[in-house]
């Protein structure tokens, strides 16, 4: 469970990036943090594993204050996958890459071996186990980075802009993967501005702007709230746009799911004589 209590954060340069953020994320929740560049999304999630410590207020991860413990120990529970996998990859083989964190956390060699096998199977990388990560394609490298974080099975997984540069199929795979993690009661937090992806997942959406949370609720409600969206540099999901443009009475405005939209529209079309 993540508790963010009135957190303020200023960078060394003096810029105040978080101006009083309060948030609770329960175990097993799937949250998408959205907002414009500079709103403070990445700054906020970097507090979850202690990379940044609040200048005012506090953050509790499973009851432990982040200022009272090291990044390494927080990282055991909060896995962070950065936007660019090339910022993590450095090993000679995919195997060693995945073993890195496990060694840091002091796992025994036999356990490390098991976890590597588990992780490569999970992400379809078995045939690349002995390959150099630098030889793999962009999408494959992203999977190696993900595997290396999942290997130690953290309770919380934070993904920073996981859909950038991904094609349609890769995003679909990611979406399925997150659903799978949810069945294991893992908490998943993504930082993203990919509205269509979020519309397909329909998670809890936390919208940030200028260091504050301006909206927090169900995806379909937040993503269709035009006032709030305009100020946050994201656009309406295309399905919602269609409904927004329909000049028909009693049209629900918070539709983001394709199938729901189809049902509603069929009903509307049947009404005509």
């Amino acid at each position: 469970m993540l508790n963010v209590e009135d957190v303020h954060f200023s960078y060394a340069s003096g810029v105040e990036a978080l101006k009083g953020v309060t948030l609770t994320v329960k175990n097993g929740e799937f949250v998408a943090i959205m907002g414009q560049n500079g709103a403070g999304k990445t700054t906020l999630v970097k507090h979850f594993n202690g990379l940044l410590k609040p200048t005012k207020g506090r953050i509790l991860v499973d009851g432990v204050e982040t200022t009272k413990t090291s990044v390494a120990s927080l990282a055991r529970n909060v896995g962070f996958v950065f936007q660019n996998p090339d910022h993590q990859l450095f090993s000679e083989t995919v195997e060693e890459e995945i073993a890195f964190a496990l060694k840091n956390f002091g796992y025994k060699p036999t356990v490390i071996e098991q976890r590597i096998t588990w992780a490569v199977n999970l992400l379809g990388l078995t045939q690349y186990r002995k390959t150099s990560p630098f030889m793999l394609s962009g999408g494959e490298r992203k999977r190696v980075a993900l595997a290396s974080v999942l290997a130690w099975d953290p309770q919380v997984l934070v993904l920073d802009e996981p859909t950038i540069g991904q094609d349609h199929q890769q995003k679909e795979n990611l979406r399925q993967f997150i659903l799978q993690l949810q069945t294991q009661n893992k908490t998943v937090v993504i930082v993203t501005h990919d509205v269509e992806f979020v519309a397909e997942c329909n998670p809890r959406v936390v919208l940030m702007r200028e260091g504050k949370i301006v909206a927090d609720g169900e995806g379909k409600d937040i993503l269709t709230d035009t006032k709030v969206i305009e100020q946050s540099s994201i656009v309406l999901p295309q399905v919602a746009q269609v409904f927004m443009r329909l000049n028909v009475k009693e049209v629900p405005k918070n539709v983001i799911d394709l199938y729901e939209a189809k049902q509603l529209l069929l009903k509307m079309l049947e009404k005509k004589p």
Binding site: D167, Q170, E196, S233, I234, V235, L265
Partner: protein, 295 residues
Amino acid sequence: MSRPCAYFKQAQNMAVIETKGLTYTYPGAPKPSITNISMKVEKGEFVLITGPSGCGKTTLCRTFNGLIPQFYQGDLKGEIIISGLNAAKHPTYEMAKHVGLVFQNPENQLFALSVEKDVAFGLENLGLPRDEMRKRVDWALNLTGIYDLRERSPYEMSGGQQQRVAIAAVLAMQPQIIVLDEPTSFLDPLSAEKIFEVIHELNRELGLTVILVEHRLDLTARYASHIIIMDEGKVRFDGETRDVLGNEETRLIGVGIPKATLLYEMLNKEGANLKGTIPLSSEELAEMLQEAIKC
């Protein structure tokens, strides 16, 4: 230097880009990245090239201005004629006068310490006189809406602004064709939309031929008259946007068909009987639905 005689007679050729059986293998690669690509782009078209990761679209872009084969070496077979020039036989700096290339990462296309110096970079390379450069730089800055940012340094700018600088820098060279390889990958949807609007304007107002490689069809399909879908190094679909995206078979390739188009199909499958041209955007679908609901 004298122009080599064009492969096709000028009168016949309205195509600014034409490839025949283009096949390319990167040095040391086990198999070709693109195989037997034959395509044609007419002057003034707005072409969308899309396909799953690894389908060869980036490789294809690099052949348009000669980076392949000159920068990348490797093995290029087949023919490629750009603006009447055989791209494989002319140095990249010569091709740069006809084709501009904008890349995915805005940060790695800007070298100078100020925006105007960056926009002038290509012109300085070509050795143009100062007043001509000044005119073109100001013109390009105005077209992309960043004239006020001309004295800023790239580090201080957002990704969307940086990408507009890259576009201005290419524009200043006044090419006939502009190729953009996933230019909005790193940008948020609003900035991405702005970039697409700028590109659309350039195509409409200046008659610039645009080749856009993109995954986000929901934002771009509406601008393109011509779409090419690639998969595993080959061209699978090549034609008018509405025809191709309306074709059921494209679903098998795994491209991100715009939701409006999918919704239209789903409704018609269940007997909605919507009439009109296949919608590519929410506006088009909404209009169509409005009509259908009213009457």
